[in-house]
Amino acid sequence: MQRRLLALLAVLALVAAACTTGDTADTVPVTDGGADDTSADTTPPDTGDTDETTDTTPAVLPQDEGGILAAVRDRGAVRCGVNDVLPGFGIVDENGEYSGFDIDFCRVVAAGVLGDPDAVEFVPLTAEARFTALQGGEIDVLIRNTTWTATRDGQEGATFLHTTFYDGQGMMVPASTGFTTLEDLADATICVLQGTTTELNLTAVFNARGIPFNPMTHADNETLQPAYESGQCEGWTSDVSQLTAFKASIEEAGGEEQYIMAEVFSKEPLGPAVPDGDSAWAQAVDWSILATIQAWEFGLTSENIGSYDGDDPNILNFLGTDGFDPGLGLAPDFAVTIVESVGNYQEIFERHLAPIGLELEGSPNDLWTNGGLMYAPPYR
């Protein structure tokens, strides 16, 4: 009898405990960016009392304590959510070093905010997990070939900043098929990555035009590519930048000749995203990235920016040599640090995207003065 009573009490206690944790769970989504692993690495073991304070005080939103910018400065590193298996945009080389177009923009942010392009912690993320990581405070900025869409801006709690690469969805087929338009692909199987805007677009475009098709979704390009090469699907749809990269490597490896259809059937502006609600951090990231475009427009490169001796007041403002500080929370000479250590937009593009077969000139990614879309607001 007594035993029964004890059991009942224990169950009640558990239910009560579950309820209280349930209450707090609603308010959890924000973890504090400050309490992180790097600081834990270097601090001596916590004593009991510090532990208690973290338990009793409510977690602070990053914004309340100087925000992400302050947290990043404290930590001495930017946490950048990246893709590590995307040719041209983010890969890991033989020495375990990250490199690529998106990776360089992580370095741009680190150089702008911390003055050190290597002060980046790269967090590889799947397409599916990227916004959870951003909302959860696991990363400070997401630069992972992410298309800026209204839903993501609205529902995913992400704030998108200046687009770094204007892409569009295309379709690749083996040249031997002779297909040149989407209509040719009627009843064909088409390979696509799951959880991407590409997948949604494919369905939307083909349904709108009344073209019957069978999608074959893959979790990553690693499984998609062999499936495509072995003829399990007749078409491969992805962003044109990716198709270009894979076309080059398939043909180089002695595979079948590939054809990328001229038609681009979606807008894919790829750019960095930061968590909603921290405009100071958003500005710092945005202007770091804009600085690479502005430097390009001014004709400043990693080689000549340090030795500029002209007297264009706009450029002097930009370089910060005249002490101009627009109050972005960045050092006056942040642009010099960025361009010297990473390069201007054109240099970054030529370094990573030219080798995979993409052209800058005449593309939407050209400078606005050349008819492209790259346009930085005036720095004054």
Binding site: R3, R4, L6, A7, A10, V11, T21, T24, A25, T27, V28, P29, T31, D32, A35, D37, A40, D41, T42, T43, P44, P45, D46, T47, T54, D55, P58, A59, D84, V85, L86, P87, I91, V92, D93, E94, N95, G96, E97, Y98, P124, T126, A129, T132, G136, E138, A219, D220, N221, E222, Q225, E229, A245, F246, S249, I250, E252, A253, G255, I356
Partner: protein, 465 residues
Amino acid sequence: MTASTLKPSTLPSATTSPLAWVRSRLFPNVRSGILTIVLAPLLVYAAYRAALFLFVNGRWEAVTRNLTLFMQGTYPRDQQWRIVAQIVVLALAFGIGAGTASAVRADVAKEAGLALPRQSPLSVIRRFWSLIAFVLLLLYFASTATPWLVVAGAVAAFLVGTLARFIPTSLRNLGWTLAALALVAGFQVVSGTVGYSWIVTAIVLAAGAWSTFKFENVEGRRALLYRALVAVAAWVVTYLAYTQLVYPGVGWDYWSGLHLTLWVSSLAIVLSFPLGLLLALARRSTLPVLRWLSTGFIELIRGVPLITLLFMGQYILGFMLPQGTNLSSISRAITAMTLFTAAYVAEIVRGGLQSIPYGQTEAALALGLPTGKMMRLIIVPQALRAVIPALVGQFISIFKDSSLLYILAINEFLGVRSLVHAQADFRAVAHAETLVFVAIGYWAFAYAMSKESQRLEVRLRAGRR
């Protein structure tokens, strides 16, 4: 028994001529003859193709050039000495463990008045040949001298460790303590003294002090008091030492490659075993709440695929923990893998517990043993012995399942493969080669585990009589 009744002439003799062997083995009758004629060319052809792939056509640059990437992934290269140190320290730990184990066997043999079966180096090679072969393959692929030095250092450290067999019998537990300490040290060489990691060292040292210094010349209760004091002192000294010693390292969030695979699966195995044991005992407990909780946990976890648990760990665990705790994705993955394995271990162990006849329990109770002692001394050892194959099977399975972390963008051993194939040089080539290499790696460890479990089974069965 059957062997002795057979006539010697029917046994295949080692001295028969090759022709006779072919005749008796390959063409004993028409049906077998036809089978041989059909299968032999097929097998030869398959072997030829395999050899052609392995030795002639295989483009192994994808592996050789990325060998370090496969081993340690994106781990910072300027901190590589930590991993080298870890390998050496762990080899020392295993050496101390092996030395102490052999000393214990010698003690037991001496006590029983039996001759100690000698262990030749050959038997060690036979036991771990898959791992040795894998290491040799790595050395063959290596382009620098460093891996050779590391292996040499590890072998030397192991041999030094085996000197632990000369520790006097009265201090036998010191050997085990040193081995455990070296294991922890091996971990912390890389990870640094992070957060609460001092607790593990403190537990090891306190338990070691408790079991090593027994104060046998002090009578009764006082000896217990002394032992407790020594253990507490070890605990306090560890804590103080760690607060003074600030040793930054590279936490496991920055580990990847085979290094990560091995640690993640070892941790999941080591942590899930005691948890599973407790769950199994709880499920058979007479206390209803304990039984319900344990049953509920086991059935809940077993009813869910591991990949679902891993995803839940990534997306949901964060919302269930108190605010401010920022678990990294690797910690979450280890948690999910541990819980999953624990549920299976619990069921396996429960099966073992049920196989023990109730008479054993009754006999123990009749001797006046309290429940705890009965379980510890009589029931659990027999139950575990009965389920070794199933347990090791589960552990092998979680070791291989650690490759699921790849789907969470954690670059463990298999995940490194996709990094390699994103590189410009290997984007469309050598997919098969890297896959074969990774498969060999997993097989080497899984096979060694399975082999060890067979050995353990044989050894423990000998004890059953």
